[in-house]
């Protein structure tokens, strides 16, 4: 068996293991097998590549080993972050992925260019190279910025940044990058080719920044998913450049995952891809004017505890506020105390609650709440009229009934959790300010709604104490 055949066989098994790895993610029962399968696939991929490199007379092995060691040394602490920081960790790792693809593309181009290698710079390859660096570097800066916004780094604006002619100027830059790309495809060995290539790199880096600055926190789940898809597609492009089918398959798996997650997120916000990327939500803050005379009814935690004790079904709707306050463990205490009294407690999870897909599920799982009680929006909505209490913890737009009824609302048409159909609603909210979209939430002004103002962790802690204390009566 030739070395090349062995390499391809290893790649073949690796591909199969990658597919199985994702297949096993369909169920929490088998999901951990999926990770082991993924690790095995990656190990085979690296071993296969090293085999091929050794057989064709490679070099720099100590350097390569050093890069591996350094990467592992940085990667390990990145895996130990608190779970509330998972969105920014994910964004950061998209950035690393994009950078890796961009650098490999750059290296390949200059290698071929230096060799005056016309065969290797065939039009098909150059198209793939341009796609690789465009997606790679765009993902790099875009993800760094997204991570910064999620981490709430001071010098990165949290609110969407918009300016006149934003979309026009972005499109013009993109057109310029494409024009450079076309020129490069036609004349890959021209003396100016390295400059054109460098120009594309700079434009991609700028493009990543420009694409993310108009995006606000609530759109982050969609944006992270899109960046996920880009990182995968840049690996696909690298596969085309290197004629490596393992890169193409693994990249395509990642790309389709990002695509599906983006579609789910967009549907859950009733917005299109295009609208998320180019329709900065920022300007629509005028809608709150007529809501001024309405007044909140607030209530004490003590009476909330009494109402919940008497309930048969309590539905908890968590949102980003729960993550910010790190309230999940207190939520678990309340959950336990209510369960002990025979109250059924369910969690209603909106697909875009939080800052990345599945964010709430992970936080609640961390607090050891059994996953059977984490219910998707579509499933829980049928039960909402039977719920005695809907307890809203730091969620806002995802329970705003204006999405169903008010055609002028910016969130009109977005599917929501029907918290307003519960018999009584308690909403924990940090302040009286309106939510992300800048619109008042009608839910808070209903007769059956009572507000519990304060930090989610503090309020849930007090609720737990009240529930525990009353057991002595």
């Amino acid at each position: 068996m030739s070395a090349e055949t062995l390499v391809q066989l290893l790649y073949l098994v690796s591909t199969a293991l990658f597919i199985l790895s994702l297949r096993w993610m369909s169920d929490p029962e088998t999901a951990r097998k999926g990770v082991f399968s993924g690790v095995a696939a990656m190990t085979l991929a690296v071993l296969g590549t090293l085999t091929g490199v050794i057989a064709t007379g490679g070099t720099h092995y100590w350097w390569i080993l050093g890069a591996f060691a350094l990467g592992a040394a940085v990667g390990y602490p990145l895996a130990q972050v608190p779970l509330t920081a998972v969105p920014q960790r994910t964004a950061l790792s998209h950035a690393f992925g994009g950078l890796a693809a961009g650098l490999v593309g750059t290296a390949k181009f200059f290698l071929y260019f230096g060799q005056k290698n016309e065969a290797a710079l065939a039009p098909f390859i150059v198209v793939a190279l341009v796609a690789e660096i465009l997606l790679g570097f765009l993902t790099f800066t875009g993800s760094i910025l997204a991570a910064g916004k999620l981490q709430e780094v001071k010098w990165i604006p949290q609110r969407p940044v918009t300016y006149p002619l934003q979309n026009v100027s972005n499109l013009a830059l993109f057109a310029l990058a494409l024009a450079l790309g076309v020129a490069l495809v036609l004349h890959p060995l021209a003396p100016w080719a390295p400059w054109a290539f460098g120009g594309i790199i700079l434009l991609s880096l700028a493009f990543g920044v420009l694409l993310i600055i108009p995006i606000g926190g609530a759109d982050m789940p969609t944006v992270i998913s899109i960046l996920n898809a880009y990182a995968g597609l840049s690996a696909v492009a690298m596969g085309f450049v290197l004629n490596n089918k393992l890169l193409i398959t693994a990249g395509a798996l990642d790309g389709s995952s990002g695509l599906i997650l983006s579609i789910i997120m967009c549907k859950a916000m009733n917005r299109s891809f295009f609208n998320v990327l180019f329709g900065a939500f920022g300007q629509t803050t005028t809608a709150s004017a007529e809501g001024e005379q309405k007044a909140y009814k607030s209530d004490t935690v003590e009476s909330a505890a009494q109402v919940m004790e008497q309930a048969n079904l309590v539905v908890i709707v968590p949102g980003y506020g729960m993550a910010v306050a790190q309230a999940q463990h207190k939520v678990r205490e309340v959950y336990d105390l209510l369960k002990k009294r025979g109250v059924t407690v369910k969690f209603a999870i909106h697909p875009v609650a939080g800052r990345m897909p599945g964010h709430m599920n992970v936080l609640l799982a961390e607090a050891e709440i059994p996953y059977e009680d984490l219910v998707e929006m579509d499933e829980i909505n049928g039960d909402m009229p039977q719920a005695d209490v809907a307890l809203i913890i730091g969620a806002n737009d995802v329970v705003n009934p204006a999405a169903r009824s008010d055609k002028s609302s910016p969130i009109y048409g977005m599917p929501i959790i029907d918290a307003d159909k519960a018999k009584t609603v308690y909403a924990i909210k940090r302040s009286k300010a309106p939510g992300f979209a800048g619109i008042d939430n009608e839910l808070y002004f209903l007769d059956k709604t009572f507000m519990l103002f304060g930090d989610a962790k503090a309020v849930m802690g007090e609720l737990a104490r009240k529930l525990a204390g009353e057991s002595g009566h």
């Binding site: 090349e4 790895s21 994702l22 297949r23 993610m25 369909s26 169920d27 999901a31 951990r32 990770v35 993924g38 690790v39 990656m42 090293l50 490199v53 490679g58 720099h60 350097w63 390569i64 890069a67 990467g71 592992a72 940085v74 990667g75 990145l78 895996a79 994910t90 790792s93 998209h94 690393f96 950078l99 890796a100 650098l103 290698l111 071929y112 230096g114 060799q115 390859i125 996920n228 690298m238 596969g239 290197l242 004629n243 490596n244 193409i248 693994a250 395509a252 798996l253 790309g255 995952s257 695509l259 599906i260 997650l261 789910i264 897909p357 599945g358 992970v362 799982a365 961390e366 996953y371």
Partner: protein, 117 residues
């Protein structure tokens, strides 16, 4: 410091398997893999979307394959090797942190304990 030899034999990139390019074959693989990906991912439980994303992070670090090929090229100038090594570093970071954190999260998803109800 690093090998600075210029290329002697243009035409074949070492280790890249560049012989004849099979554009169509590559496109077919891409198309089929995308469909498999879409179908497999559609069945992933919504509970697990965050771990899914960490896992695909690690999988997209397959770019390490390209990075190794670039770094190990014996005919490349030093700066190209350096680009490859940085790419290996970035990919390895994702491989290690991606798989570890996915496993860490998945360990937390627990079923109802029996008898606890």
């Amino acid at each position: 410091m690093m090998l600075l030899a210029l290329t002697e034999t243009p035409g074949h990139a070492s280790g890249g398997g560049h012989g004849q390019l099979d554009f169509m074959g590559a496109l077919f693989v891409f198309m089929l893999a995308t469909f498999i990906g879409l179908m497999v991912i559609q069945r992933v439980s919504r509970l697990l979307h965050t771990p899914l994303m960490s896992l695909t992070n690690a999988i997209s670090a397959i770019a390490v394959v390209g990075a190794i090929i670039v770094s190990a090229g014996k005919d490349s100038p030093g700066y190209i090797t350096l680009l490859g090594l940085v790419a290996i570093f970035c990919s390895t970071t994702n491989i290690v942190s991606g798989f570890l954190i996915t496993d860490r999260m998945l360990k937390m998803f627990k079923k109802q304990e029996k008898g606890a109800k």
